[in-house]
């Protein structure tokens, strides 16, 4: 499926931000990721035309970065940190309980396309170890039990927008620092919620 007119317009808006078209490649790959949950071959063709580089160049960049996914992710991308501060604060048990609950190994997606599980490197939440991101929204100070409760909640409630504060209040513990500010925006798919790429979504009350 080639891109709809609206998406092409959005892409052109992004290209306008940069002195050279190619700089928009990263953001455009995020548009592709949001559209299909992965970087599809059609999107690669579309982006190569929009930017004026070859398909292989697009693919080469997409495959370099871990946040552009080759295979379609589930609605919720669960990224559990395993770097040093989390490792020494027993992230291994959080990883194991999420794996047990979802039945997934690293980088796998369930058949209902609800969860994708991945073990990731440092997400900058070392003071709130062990930490997890759901669709790149950070939850800090998890325990094995709380992480299972979080997965259960996600599976049952199926929220459209993931707001970090909501998950933190429900399932989180110790934080890297006082978050202080209440937020109502978040991400809705396996793409960081960010205004420039149109993926920041507000949670309706």
């Amino acid at each position: 499926m080639s891109w709809e007119k609206e998406l092409v317009e959005k892409a052109n808006e992004i290209i306008e931000l940069y002195p050279e078209k190619r700089s928009a490649l990263g953001p455009l790959l995020y548009l592709a990721q949001e559209k299909d949950g992965h970087i599809s071959n059609d999107s690669i063709v579309e982006i190569s035309n929009l930017i004026g580089i070859t398909e292989v160049q697009v693919k080469s960049v997409a495959s370099f970065y871990s946040m552009y996914k080759e295979e379609q992710t589930g609605k919720y991308l669960l990224s559990v940190c395993k770097s040093i501060s989390c490792e020494i604060n027993d992230s291994r048990s959080v990883i194991n309980s999420v794996k047990d609950f979802t039945g997934l190994e690293n980088y796998e997606t369930d058949t209902d396309k609800v969860f994708t599980f991945e073990e990731v490197e440092c997400i900058g939440a070392c003071g709130g170890a062990p930490a997890v991101q759901v669709n790149y929204e950070t939850v800090e100070g998890l325990t094995p039990e709380k992480s299972i409760q979080m997965c259960e909640w996600l599976k049952e409630e199926r929220p459209n927008v993931i707001v970090a504060e909501e998950l933190q209040d429900k399932f989180g513990g110790i934080k890297s620092f006082d978050w202080a500010i209440k937020d109502n925006t978040g991400s809705s798919y396996s793409v960081p919620g960010f205004q420039n790429i149109g993926t920041a979504k507000e949670k309706s009350k």
């Binding site: 960049v61 770097s83 040093i84 501060s85 020494i88 939440a125 070392c126 110790i174 620092f177 205004q195």
Partner: protein, 431 residues
């Protein structure tokens, strides 16, 4: 021992809305930019930064004023803010981006005015979705109020700022890799020379690349003078620094202090001691790339030079504490896996070496180690960083490879028992 709040003052005073423009304005926000524009003397801004003796907060600790002085003449010049904070243990830029984005934007505007730059990029790692949203909101508010955009506050100075998201590559914290990434390429560090992006950077144009914390310090320096800033801290490490404390401490977090205190004071005062009253076996003084210190070395002073002289680095200011019960082989394995995963793959010693180091540590940790594994580890480390010296020599384009060597030499130099205890005591008959 108390904190000295320069960069984190505003967010402490207005915890719930420090990110909002009106609150920032009421608290003296954008006054440094107004002052600079009124004085209309770019050279004096650069001199203030030079006087402050501030050194870059990203990890390398290069003097900021000197870097600014390198910027070559050209019609198109760029400022790129390095917000790709990914060094394990570090979360200081995250708090600055999330809770005080206008302080950074004011710093960006002043820096660009001083160096006659008309386009700036704030590169934020992709996993920092929330911080990036806050910064983007702040950028839009700043445009509306005329702090960014065309003819800023009615002067001839114009500046465009674009917030750009990375996509999960630690290596993009290396400034030339970051520039490649921003150009829409694979985040592979560039071959040096040219050593300085200030000469040849983004789109091969002169480019300043500065860390979030460095540029967030600029408004304070302008408001209070470089001389005042240089009075804080100690010679060679002036000013305050936001240290991220994590690991086995009771109270992890970001703490802004003047440099020059000891790690012991820092860990016990702010970290409120070690969990369950245990003792410190080892700690990392400056992020995962830095060689570890032992629990007997807590009296080292937290300055760039003191830490360097003791054989490590203050790096990104991330202190990770490991208590007496920590299995250091597992800890080293975690750090080595990190670098193996994040190696960009350009240089053979790093790409192959880090992967082999990870596999060997993995087999030792799982009880399948071989007697020859220690010499094999040393041999591979030596291929990446000849002589295993500090500061490291390297056979690679960037320091990522040698960073994977740090935890292994730390382990072998000070805690060799831990690793030999995991090896078989004799060669099994079946071999």
């Amino acid at each position: 021992m108390k904190e000295t709040l320069l960069l984190t003052k505003h967010m402490r005073e207005f915890p719930e809305n420090s990110h909002k423009l009106d609150v920032f304005e009421k608290n003296n926000g954008y006054s440094a930019l107004k002052k600079v524009l009124k004085d209309n003397d770019p050279e004096s801004v650069i001199n203030e930064i030079k006087d402050s003796n501030i050194r870059g907060r990203g990890g390398a600790g290069f003097p900021t004023g000197v870097k600014w002085g390198f910027l070559a003449e050209d019609e198109d010049r760029y400022l790129v803010i390095n917000g790709d904070e990914s060094e394990p243990g570090t979360f200081k830029d995250r708090i600055l981006l999330e809770r005080d984005p206008h302080q950074l934007i004011e710093g960006v505007a002043i820096t660009c005015f001083a160096s006659n730059i008309k386009k700036a990029f704030i590169y934020i790692r992709g996993e920092y979705a929330k911080p990036a949203r806050r910064v983007q909101d702040a950028v839009e508010q700043a445009y509306e109020k005329g702090y960014l955009g065309k003819n800023i506050l009615g002067t001839n100075f114009s500046l465009d700022v674009v917030v750009h998201l990375g996509a999960g590559a630690y290596i993009c914290g290396e400034e030339t890799a970051l520039l490649n990434s921003l150009e829409g390429r694979r985040g592979e560090p560039r071959l040096k020379p040219p050593y300085f992006p200030a000469v040849m950077g983004l789109y091969n144009k002169p480019t300043l690349v500065n860390n979030v914390e460095t540029i967030s310090s600029v408004p304070w320096i302008i408001n209070n003078s470089g001389k005042e800033y240089s009075k804080l801290g100690v010679e060679g490490s002036t000013g305050t620094r936001i240290f991220s404390l994590s690991g086995h401490v009771n109270n992890p977090g970001n703490f802004e202090i003047e440099m020059g205190k000891t790690f012991e004071e820092f860990i016990y005062t702010f970290g409120n001691g070690i969990k369950n009253n245990k003792s410190v076996k080892a700690y990392i003084p400056g992020g995962a790339s830095a060689p570890w210190f032992t629990g007997d070395q807590l009296d080292i002073k937290m300055t760039i030079d003191d830490v360097a002289n003791a054989g490590s680095m203050l790096g990104s200011g991330a202190v990770v504490v490991m208590d007496e019960n920590t299995n250091l082989v597992y800890a080293a394995k975690s750090i080595v896996s990190f670098f193996a995963h994040e190696s960009c793959g350009q240089c053979t010693p790093c790409r192959e070496g880090t992967t082999w180091l990870e596999m060997i540590l993995d087999r030792i940790a799982s009880g399948r180690g071989r007697l020859s594994d220690i010499s094999l580890l040393i041999d591979i480390c030596d291929n990446i960083s000849p002589g295993l010296a500090w500061p490291p020599k390297m056979t690679t384009i960037c320091p990522l490879g040698p960073s994977a060597v740090s935890p292994i030499t730390s382990l072998l130099n000070n805690f060799s028992d831990e690793i030999t205890n995991m090896l078989p005591t004799k060669i099994p008959i079946t071999q």
